[in-house]
């Protein structure tokens, strides 16, 4: 009877396509919006993740998330260095100075520092230039997004000049950054330079970056730093999540996306569910004939479920492919970089579609089960 069920479904092309498209679009909307949401949230921790040399971040206990930082005293660095289990610790500055190009174009940029001596904290994905050139006086690294803003359509090359806080600075390297949440261009400089570019002299340390002794877990070293300095120390993963949690709790972003996703779910349920229910209603007479002929209720349930699952599987495949294709096509767009379809969202959407379609077929099944087979004799 599976064959009969499939023929019933596929035999009516227009309705079949309608059903599949309803599932496909709601799959697309749900997975696309969820992916963008998770991508936007992920961006709030981009600069934390881009620091690869150290995995422990020490900060003032009042600091709640990456973008709003209470500065630390210089002596903090020495206290952290004195904690047993700390392999090394370097100061780190993060600020938002203004960079002005020669032609007058200017932007607020996200300036991150690397250690003066070791250059620890430098970005990894270098596209042009050399990290070591940061040792040159008045040097900066800039990310590709910054370069394409200041020098649109120009091939990547180092040596461009800027002005930052009345200092003439030179670009010694171009790198690929993880897209920042704020969409600012990202610059890197040595710690002492970064402070000069910002135009302040004291109390400029945003974080202390720490590397744990080999053989000691980051968590253990964090615990020791907290215990002996009273400062907050977090692993990069924890700090990243804390930042994401802050944005979820304190901005309207989750609500906005939540509403869109809920609407996609609702419209998907209503449209796909209703179309499927109507499809069953229109076939009620056929199901009645099958019941009269002696097809059991179990068999009929199986038939309807099979139809529903096929619609769900095909619709989902189309929808999720559309989402994946969207991110594939836009992955080189500088403003949309870093967005992708996480497998968790693909799976979650599959579960949502499954629930939608099971609900819809439950209604259809109920309707067919209570159907009196005697209706087949009625015109």
């Amino acid at each position: 009877m599976n064959f009969v069920a499939l023929q019933m479904l596929l035999g009516d092309r227009a309705k079949y396509i309608g059903l599949v498209m309803a599932v496909a679009f709601s799959t697309f909307l749900m997975s696309h919006q969820s992916s963008i949401f998770s991508g936007v949230m992920n961006r709030t921790r981009s600069q934390i993740q881009d620091v690869q040399d150290a995995s422990i971040w020490v900060m003032d206990p009042k600091t709640q998330y990456f973008d709003e930082v209470k500065a630390l005293n210089d002596n903090v660095l020495y206290r952290v260095r004195g904690v047993p289990g700390v392999e090394w610790a370097v100061p780190m500055y993060k600020g938002l100075p203004t960079a002005r190009a020669i032609n007058g174009d200017f932007r607020t940029v996200l300036l991150m520092s690397v250690d003066d001596n070791s250059l620890a904290g430098a970005p990894r994905r270098l596209l042009a230039g050399d990290i070591a050139d940061l040792r040159q006086p008045d040097s900066v690294l800039m990310d590709r997004a910054a370069y394409s803003f200041f020098f649109p359509n120009q091939p990547l090359s180092t040596g461009k000049a800027f002005e930052m806080n009345d200092h003439r600075v030179k670009v010694v390297g171009i790198f690929e950054s993880s897209a920042p949440f704020t969409n600012f261009p990202v610059f890197y400089a040595r710690y002492s330079n970064a402070i000069r570019y910002q135009g302040r002299e004291r109390n400029m340390m945003s974080f202390v970056l720490v590397k744990a002794h080999p053989g000691l877990s980051d968590e253990e070293v964090c615990r020791r730093i907290r215990a002996s300095t009273g400062l907050t120390a977090r692993t990069d993963l924890d700090f990243g999540w804390q930042t994401i949690d802050y944005y979820i709790a304190h901005t309207g972003i989750p609500i906005n996306f939540g509403i869109t996703i809920a609407i996609a779910l609702l419209v998907g349920t209503l449209v796909a569910g209703q179309t499927f229910y109507i499809f069953t209603l229109e076939n009620l007479k056929q199901f009645g004939a099958l019941k009269a002929i002696g097809v059991t209720n179990w068999r009929i349930m199986g038939m309807i479920l099979l139809q529903a699952l096929l619609v769900a599987a095909v619709g989902y495949s189309i929808g999720i492919t559309m989402t994946a294709a969207f991110f594939e096509i836009t992955k080189n767009n500088i403003d949309l970089r870093g967005f992708f379809l996480p497998w968790q969202i693909a799976t979650g959407t599959a579960v949502a579609v499954l629930i939608i379609i099971v609900l819809a077929s439950a209604m259809s099944i109920r309707r067919v089960l209570v159907l009196e087979p005697a209706i087949v004799f009625r015109g």
Partner: protein, 238 residues
């Protein structure tokens, strides 16, 4: 044990509705349907013919009375078993054919075999052979929408016969057809369906098909008023 009656109705009643709008449609039907015969059930519109054959076929439960079908006491048959009983033993022909539009003629005729779990290729092949013997050899791959009414009813007839049921129930099989086509369908029904070990009941309005009857049961207002034996060679009349 050989019994000549395929169906024995004794004081069958059927009531629709509840409490204040009760409608007693069958008011004590007594009827015997015999193996090897085509029994016509005739009567004015609304007298309860369709209701009666629905009860006989196990599609509706009687309100009262005793019903024996193919030696089984239907009132004692659990609901689940009734479905299997129908699938194994009953064939149906409906006024509106009730073919599945998405299936080909052969696939439609094969449905009772498929429902019984037979493999598709095998079932459809057998259905094709049966369609050929009903004069539809060339149309076995056609879908119902591509067939005339008479052809569709012949496919329905094949579906009613394919699993060799012992009782075939037809409700106005010719009334959607013109006279000539209806006549041809009845001829096929008579030739292909009536067997020594099988009984056929046909509900009809159509006096022109009376010539095919072995027995005619007249129904009026929920009771059988008269049974007329018309068959030429009466082998066993009890």
């Amino acid at each position: 044990m050989t019994q000549s009656e395929a169906v024995i109705c004794h004081k069958i009643t059927k009531e629709f509705g509840a409490a204040d709008n009760r409608n007693l449609v069958l008011r004590g039907v007594d009827l015997k349907v015999h193996y090897g015969e085509l029994t016509l059930l005739v009567g004015p519109s609304g007298c309860g013919k369709t209701t009666l054959i629905s009860v006989i076929a196990g599609l509706l439960n009687a309100t009262g009375g005793e019903l024996e079908v193919l030696g089984r006491d239907m009132s004692r048959l659990p609901k689940g078993d009734a479905v299997v009983f129908r699938r194994r033993n009953l064939g149906f022909v409906f006024q509106q054919y009730n073919l599945l539009p998405a299936l080909t003629a052969a696939e439609n005729a094969a449905v009772p075999l498929l429902a019984g779990g037979m493999r598709r290729n095998h079932a459809v092949e057998r259905a094709g052979e049966l369609l050929a013997s009903l004069g539809l050899e060339q149309r076995r791959h056609a879908r119902p929408a591509q067939l005339s009414g008479g052809q569709q009813q012949r496919v329905a007839l094949a579906r009613a016969l394919i699993h060799s049921p012992r009782l075939i129930v037809c409700d106005e099989p010719t009334s959607a057809l013109d006279h000539e086509t209806g006549h041809a369908v009845m001829e096929l029904l008579k030739r292909m369906a009536v067997r020594e070990d099988r009984a056929v009941i046909v509900v009809t309005h159509d006096a022109r098909v009376f010539e095919f009857a072995d027995r005619i049961a007249y129904m009026e207002d929920g009771v059988i008023t008269r049974v007329e034996v018309t068959k030429k060679s009466i082998a066993a009349v009890s």
